[in-house]
């Protein structure tokens, strides 16, 4: 992609300027949810919505019907990790053992939402197990959490909020092309 102001050339997937006046600059990745409209609206009732003429009808929850084609990719202190959507369909809560930061990847099949959270709460590293209804339970306190929002809804940690981290839902081949050293998060 190109910026109009300096005409520098940027890698879209990396958000990094490859050539031109801004070479070396890196755009901070914000947390963006790929999710169904109904789930987003339910979670964010005050949301606004972009209103451009429709260009397609193809992108709905069925887009992920071949989960092996996709990964959720993220960087941990600059090191690439990824979690296959096929893994997440099978195991919707994946604890990521990473020496740099304890993390958990969560998936909700109904909304197709993948999220990434720090699993450190009050200096304790929690490990989670999926429960029905879009929930998960931490093994240490047996508190129940909403696995999409990362908020504890019942138990000793009720009210606690996991810190969200940014990642991208990507074609597996694209993520691996740009991050050939990426390690599976399982």
């Amino acid at each position: 992609m190109i910026d109009s102001e300096t005409k520098s050339l940027w890698s879209h997937i990396l958000g990094e300027c490859m050539q031109g006046e801004l070479q070396g600059e890196k755009l901070p990745l914000l947390i963006g949810d790929m999710v169904t409209w109904s789930a987003w609206r339910a979670e964010h009732p005050r949301t606004t919505v972009l209103n451009l003429a429709r260009t397609s009808r193809n992108y709905a929850r069925e887009f992920y019907d071949e989960p092996a084609r996709f990964v959720y990719g993220f960087l941990v202190n600059g090191q690439p990790r990824h979690c296959s959507l096929a893994t997440l369909v099978d195991t919707p809560v994946v604890n990521v053992s990473d020496p740099r930061e304890p993390l958990v990847v969560t998936f909700d099949a109904e909304s197709t939402l993948v999220r990434l959270f720090s699993s450190r709460v009050d200096d304790r590293e929690l490990r989670f197990v999926a429960e029905e209804g879009g929930r998960m339970r931490d093994e240490a306190t047996q508190s129940v959490w909403n696995r999409s929002t990362g908020r504890a809804i019942d138990g000793p940690l009720a009210g606690k909020q996991l810190a969200a981290r940014a990642g991208i839902a990507s074609y597996a081949a694209s993520w691996k092309a740009f991050h050939p050293t990426s390690q599976d998060a399982k």
């Binding site: 992609m1 890698s11 600059e25 914000l30 964010h44 919505v49 972009l50 050293t181």
Partner: protein, 110 residues
């Protein structure tokens, strides 16, 4: 990191050029792309106008612009949520939306 107001659009480039050509299989080290070697392949032959100040609706105003099962890119910045329906964003002229959300300049893209 310097903060800049930049507006985005697709240009006549894609990929990492020399780095993409040199990429090896997953799990192996790829040689670092030297800036001098950046030699992108042209896959989109024109530059598109950046999208800025695109109109938005409140959720309550939505009828058939986006349907329940359709995918959106949802973002919250400084407490302000916005959804970018993917079925409005297909094609190289639409895939980057320059926007201001929660007072912050962002590029919503997929």
């Amino acid at each position: 990191m310097r903060h800049r107001w930049l507006t985005w659009c697709w240009a006549a480039v894609a990929g990492l050029g020399a780095a993409a050509a040199a990429m090896t299989g997953f799990g192996q080290e790829a040689p670092e792309a030297s800036p001098r070697e950046f030699n992108p392949r042209v896959v989109v032959k024109r530059t598109f106008q950046p999208i800025v100040d695109a109109p938005v609706l409140a959720a309550a105003e939505v009828t058939d612009q986006v349907l329940d099962h359709e995918l959106v890119l949802g973002v919250v910045v400084n407490g302000e949520p916005r959804a970018y329906p993917i079925n409005m964003l297909t094609g190289p002229s639409r895939e980057i939306i320059n926007d201001t959300l929660g007072g912050r300049p962002i590029a919503a893209t997929w």
